[in-house]
């Protein structure tokens, strides 16, 4: 199952950090995200150190906001992190665990 089947998302930048707000489609999706969309899973997807991935919960919005520090680079094509949300939504979650 891909993340986009249970959530939608948007990303933005702040200096060299990216934030990705992942919004579950409903309460059940949010519960699933809480337990399975962890900093470890997101860090692995982006091939980035886990300690640089922070997670904030926003239960009333069914949302989790990820802040990924020091990942952007002005010479890379997506220097403002605008496509990060689209990418993360392709994350495969299998039997409750990411297999990316």
């Amino acid at each position: 199952m891909k993340l986009k089947e249970i959530a939608h998302a948007r990303s933005g930048d702040k200096g060299k950090s990216v934030n990705i707000g992942v919004i579950g489609n409903d309460a059940k999706s949010y519960q699933y995200l809480e337990s399975h969309l962890t900093p470890k899973v997101v860090a692995a997807f982006f091939n980035h150190p886990e300690e640089k991935v922070k997670r904030y919960f926003w239960p009333k919005l069914f949302a989790i906001n990820f802040v990924i520090e020091e990942i952007l680079d002005e010479l890379k094509a997506d220097s403002q992190g605008k496509a990060f949300a689209t990418a993360l939504l392709e994350l495969e979650m299998h039997d409750g665990i990411s297999t990316h």
Binding site: H8, F46, E74, K76, A77, D78
Partner: protein
């Protein structure tokens, strides 16, 4: 009684929507790097340093804009020449470069207070330098309803409203996953209706879109820091009206939008059709680096394979090779801009689509955020 506030521009280079029928029109011209672009302009001509696009606007209601950039007075003078009967309020004092001698630009994100002061002074148009984007909206609401600067819950509500509309079309259908099916030609600019208790409705958005714009460019939703208020978004209710934001005093520091001139940068593109494109791209890059004796740094992005999204690579028989370089010396980066065109004849089979002309060399400013104690900053309000 309610008030309508619209945002007619999300950033410098956006379309400008001058048609919004609202009580207050905000126009947001400043993104992270806008001030450094304006610094380059001002280097060439000290009378510049603002977003001149703003001069296309025909005032039909009260207007609040940060188009002033590094030179709000310069823009205000131009506006006054065109509309001598209008009172122009100018908010400045955001320039704090004297406190950061190592930087090239340093501007504090001022809040709604000085804008409110300008509106209370009778300004028809308020032109600011760097202010926090949501503060453009907060100021309109605070002025209209006569709130005190300690009405933190109301300021938090207005901050949510400003946060939602500051990026223009992003909340009226832009960036949504159903874009193709939703009649994108009709995507317009946001208008909100706010009530005395600071609850508000967005007239041309959807709950799904509002949620996405709420999470855009934020960190901790329980502690959204602005110069006007520290806002807690966690209890927001997205019903017929948006309510539920809570606020407390803003931080004792202002965030500072700083930049430092690092050197120069340029980007060149060429098309590649065929197999083994990653190897060909890397070979082109390394040939150019050797020829330039490593005097610049070059990043190659193979757009169509993994250049835009390295996390989900795909195979393709074609791609756009984008080379982005940076170097301390302009001459080295200029030399770089001459290096890709020759591959039209000495490159691999399948090279194509070189868009004629040499790429421009731009100064490269790096973003350097800072903090400054509020007591050190003196916002200034003047009138023309």
């Amino acid at each position: 009684m309610s008030v309508t506030i619209g945002n007619g521009s999300g950033f410098w280079g956006d379309r400008i929507d001058n048609t919004l029928e609202v009580d207050y029109l905000t126009l947001d011209y400043l993104s992270e790097m806008s001030l450094s672009i304006m610094a380059v302009q001002r280097e060439k001509d000290p009378n510049m340093g603002y977003a001149a696009d703003f001069l296309q606007i025909i005032p039909k209601c009260k207007i609040v804009t940060n188009a002033g950039g590094l030179n709000p007075l310069g823009l205000a003078l131009e506006v006054k020449r065109r509309y001598p009967k209008l009172k122009i309020g100018i908010v400045s004092g955001d320039d704090v470069l004297s406190h950061f001698p190592n930087l090239s630009t340093a501007n504090a994100y001022l809040g709604a207070e000085p804008i409110v002061e300008a509106l209370r002074g009778g300004a028809d148009i308020v032109i600011t330098g760097r202010v926090a984007d949501p503060s453009l909206t907060v100021a309109c609401a605070q002025f209209h309803f006569g709130w005190d600067r300690h009405d933190y819950d109301k300021l938090a509500q207005a901050t949510v409203a400003g946060h939602l509309i500051e990026c223009g079309a992003q909340v009226t259908g832009g960036l949504m996953d159903d874009w193709l099916d939703s009649d994108p030609a009709k995507i317009g600019y946001p208008i909100l209706e706010m009530f005395k208790d600071a609850s508000f409705k967005l007239k041309n958005s959807t709950i799904r879109n509002v949620k996405e714009q709420l999470v855009y460019e934020i960190q901790d939703p329980g502690n959204y820091l602005s110069p006007d208020v520290t806002a807690n978004f966690l209890d927001l209710h997205l019903g017929d009206r948006i309510t539920g934001a809570k606020g407390k005093a803003p931080p004792s520091t202002y965030k500072v939008s700083g930049s430092i001139k690092w050197g120069y940068t340029a980007t060149s593109d060429i098309g590649l059709v065929g197999d083994r494109l990653k190897e060909k791209a890397e070979k082109i890059r390394s040939i150019i680096l050797d020829r330039l004796e490593n005097k610049v740094e070059i990043v190659a992005s193979l757009i169509g394979i993994d250049g835009l999204c390295p996390y989900l690579p795909s195979d393709s028989f074609e791609a756009l090779l984008r080379l982005s370089a940076k170097g301390k010396n302009r001459a080295d980066v200029e030399a770089f801009t001459k290096e890709l065109a020759p591959f039209i004849t000495c490159g691999p089979m399948g090279v194509c689509a070189y868009m004629g002309g040499r790429s421009p060399v731009r100064p490269l400013y790096l973003y350097r955020p800072e903090l400054i104690e509020r007591v050190l900053v003196k916002p200034k309000v003047e009138f023309l």
